[in-house]
């Protein structure tokens, strides 16, 4: 007998969906056509040779690249071995992200040339100390689950800044880290640092403590470094994010469906190559799509189109059953202000409601050029607020509380009832920086705006520093950075960015 459930327990999490299943299929099968008929350019001989060995057509071979066309069955085969779940641990294994299905995690964005000084509120080039402090902020904020380098370290050597960034983050946080790498050498060094942090290479096999960010160039181009990193990561079981960053109207069609098709084509190339190299290699597909602003010609990080594309792509990845790298907590503003709050709130809400797994770019401003400690701290509260919405309204006998209503009856109040005492903390969201006090109380506390309260919170967190790494560990990790500097000495133009 078929039992139809009544609505004792309804589906409780609200979901934001922008595509129908038919539309998702149409986008996916179109991406397969582009991959097979238009093809993608691979600037890496090992990459196109590997594609060829797996059944791809390789044509128009030049000195540095080839056009690769992949038949759909290559994608089917790759998707069959691609892990549906990817786990990344924090450096001390206390924290972890389990990226699959509807699990959501928020974290910072990466590698902004500039940052906002928390003391002076001035925009300047980012330093080692900034990256460390921003990691410390992320470490202290309960709604941030992973971290990325919120600034490009520019007060160390040029070609090796990625190692210094990793060191700065290891000094600042114990949350899972998504690194970037200048090149293969940089990736190798950071892997070495992770082994040191873990106490040996074999510890890595128990679960990776970082993932790697890899970005192919839109439209449909995969550079030599990108493919090198992909192959290396597959070999070493480093989970990696393979995220194209197409701009609708500039490096992708102006129509958002076309942008999604192209991005998916770019992602699929990464999936196929990774699985050809090592079946079961963990990959997270992204996730960073927006439009070009047609007045200023910049990549918009706060547009409604970005939120829409992010939601659409999340649906596509859920349909494919592949972990997803989403984008939110970012804005085109220059300082943490009203625009920062409104843009980041909208994209945080839509990203969470769409339910992408690894939602990055919290703390990003000015089209990804500047990081903001205030944006990071403010977004923590926004995420917390949105997570309350995600918990929805469970409807059952307990939550309907008919017995309590009966007990209080007309004209009474619920404040002193046990049911209220027991349930208010889980049911009613407690704001931290949000103002709900009376006008008089607010005035007595200094008439502070939200932005001022956020800045105070930044200062408060940064004041209290507890070292994460002991001296010996710090020195060993630092040694890798210094050795890299020695190897790269003399390669670059001597240029002090701060003198």
């Amino acid at each position: 007998m078929k039992v139809k459930k009544t609505n004792h327990l309804t589906h409780t999490t609200p979901v934001f969906e922008v595509l129908t299943e038919e539309e998702i299929e149409a986008i996916y099968f179109s991406a397969l056509s582009v991959l097979y008929e238009t093809g993608v350019r691979v600037y890496n001989e090992k990459g196109y040779d590997l594609a060829h060995s797996g059944g791809a057509i390789v044509e128009d071979v030049t000195d540095d690249s080839a056009l690769v066309k992949m038949p759909p069955e290559m994608v089917d085969k790759a998707l069959a071995t691609l892990p549906k779940k990817v786990v990344v641990y924090g450096p001390d294994r206390k924290n972890k992200m389990e990226l699959y299905k509807d699990q959501i995690y928020f974290g910072a964005g990466s590698d902004t040339p500039f940052t906002i000084d928390p003391d002076t509120r001035e925009r300047r080039r980012a330093t080692y100390k900034d990256v460390k402090n921003l990691a410390r902020l992320a470490d202290a904020l309960p709604n941030l689950d992973f971290h990325m380098s919120l600034g490009i370290v520019q007060d160390t050597a040029v070609g090796t800044y990625d190692r210094w960034q990793y060191l700065a983050m290891l000094e600042g946080t114990t949350k899972p880290i998504n690194i970037t790498a200048v090149d293969l050498d940089g990736l190798n060094d950071q892997l070495e640092m992770a082994y040191i942090r873990l106490g040996g290479e074999k510890e890595w096999k128990k679960g990776p403590i970082f993932s790697l960010y890899i970005e192919p160039v839109s439209p449909l181009s995969h550079s030599v470094e990108v493919i090198d990193k992909l192959l290396f990561s597959a070999d070493k079981r480093i989970p990696f994010v393979y995220t194209p960053c197409p701009l609708a109207g500039a490096t992708a069609p102006a129509t958002l469906a076309g942008t999604a098709v192209q991005a998916l084509t770019e992602s699929l190339l990464g999936i196929v190559l990774s699985q050809l190299r090592k079946p079961g290699a963990p990959l997270i597909i992204g996730g960073l799509m927006s439009n070009m602003d047609m007045r200023t010609a910049v990549y918009s990080y706060g547009s409604p189109e970005m939120a829409l594309l992010s939601a659409a792509y999340t649906q596509i990845t859920k349909w494919l059953d592949v972990p997803m790298y989403e984008t939110a907590g970012c804005s085109d503003t220059k300082l943490y202000d009203e625009q920062a709050a409104l843009e980041s709130t909208i994209n945080i809400a839509t990203a969470a409601l769409a339910g992408g797994n690894m939602i990055h770019d919290v703390g990003y401003m000015e089209q990804g050029l500047t990081s903001s400690p205030e944006m990071l701290v403010a977004s923590d509260e926004t995420i917390s607020r949105v997570k309350r919405i995600l918990r929805g309204i469970p409807v059952n006998d307990d939550t309907k509380a008919l017995d309590v209503i009966e007990a209080i009856g007309p004209g009474g109040h619920y404040l002193a009832h046990d049911h209220t005492f027991e349930r208010f903390k889980t049911e009613i969201w407690p704001p931290k920086m949000t103002s709900r006090e009376s006008y008089e109380e607010w005035e007595a506390a200094g008439s502070k705006t939200y932005g001022q309260r956020v800045n105070e919170k930044v200062q408060e967190i940064l004041e209290d520093e507890k070292p994460i790494l002991d001296e010996k560990m710090y020195k060993e990790l630092r040694r890798i950075c210094e050795l890299a500097d020695e190897r790269h000495a003399g390669e670059e133009l001597e240029l002090d960015m701060f003198g």
Binding site: Y43, D111, P113, I152, Q154, V158, G159, Y161, V182, V217, S221, S223, L247, G249, A250, T251, A254, M292, M294, R295, T296, A297, V298, Q367, G368, L369, E492, L493, L495, M497
Partner: protein, 214 residues
């Protein structure tokens, strides 16, 4: 009669109508108008209006690019004649994305805008090594060299390139303008560039300033 042709030309540019631009340029030449007059009273008048509207927020990048194309299509007919008659032209720019960087679009956008401003562009592509810039300078003798970089790792290659141009003894023959997401005026000054363009339209303005026609 000539007034009507000039107006039609400036409107064609404003509306991004390459077909009409070429057709009307040819018609003007057929009717005996000088290449210089067609350029200055027709095409450039349209492009200047495009600039005004763009800055006001009434026109957008794709529209400006269409206008730039309409202008440059007309220019193709005029260029050989202008060269012969010695009319002062905006000049020539060698444009490239520096070594190690595959990002193409910003540099192409600037190239199109500069073309729209009347410059002749020699596009040497992306991942262009200093030697490639030097060869292009020797071959094309440009007024300006434009360099683009999208990454903080590659932006310093602009400094290398400028140094290499210096060492080749060519630095005095060209002005260097730089741009790209991580670049700012301070950085441009640091590496000894002659100018920094914050975005494509600003770069076109800068190019005009550098050759003294702004």
């Amino acid at each position: 009669m000539s007034e009507k042709i000039f107006e039609k030309l400036s409107t064609a540019v404003l509306e991004g109508d390459s077909g009409t631009s070429v057709e009307t340029t040819q018609k003007g030449l057929d009717e005996g108008l000088s290449a210089g007059d067609i350029l200055h009273s027709g095409l450039i008048v349209g492009m200047n209006e495009v600039g005004v509207r763009f800055k006001r927020g009434d026109m957008f990048v794709p529209e400006v690019l269409m206008s730039a194309e309409a202008m440059s299509e007309g220019m193709k007919l005029l260029r050989p004649l202008l060269a012969k008659s010695g009319v002062k032209m905006a000049g020539k720019i060698v444009m490239g994305t520096v070594k190690g960087d595959l990002h193409d679009i910003g540099k192409n956008l600037v190239s199109m805008m500069c073309e729209g401003a009347g410059f002749e562009i020699v596009n040497i592509g992306f991942d262009a090594a200093p030697e490639k810039f030097i060869e292009a300078i020797k071959e094309h003798q440009p007024n300006i060299v434009g360099m683009s970089a999208m990454l903080t790792t590659t932006m310093r290659a602009m400094g290398h390139t400028i140094k290499a141009i210096e060492e080749a003894g060519l630095r005095d023959t060209v002005d260097v303008m730089v741009g790209g997401a991580p670049v700012d005026q301070e950085f441009a000054d640091r590496i000894g560039a002659d100018g920094y363009g914050a975005n494509a339209p600003a770069s076109a303005d800068l190019a005009k300033e550098l050759v003294g026609i702004a």
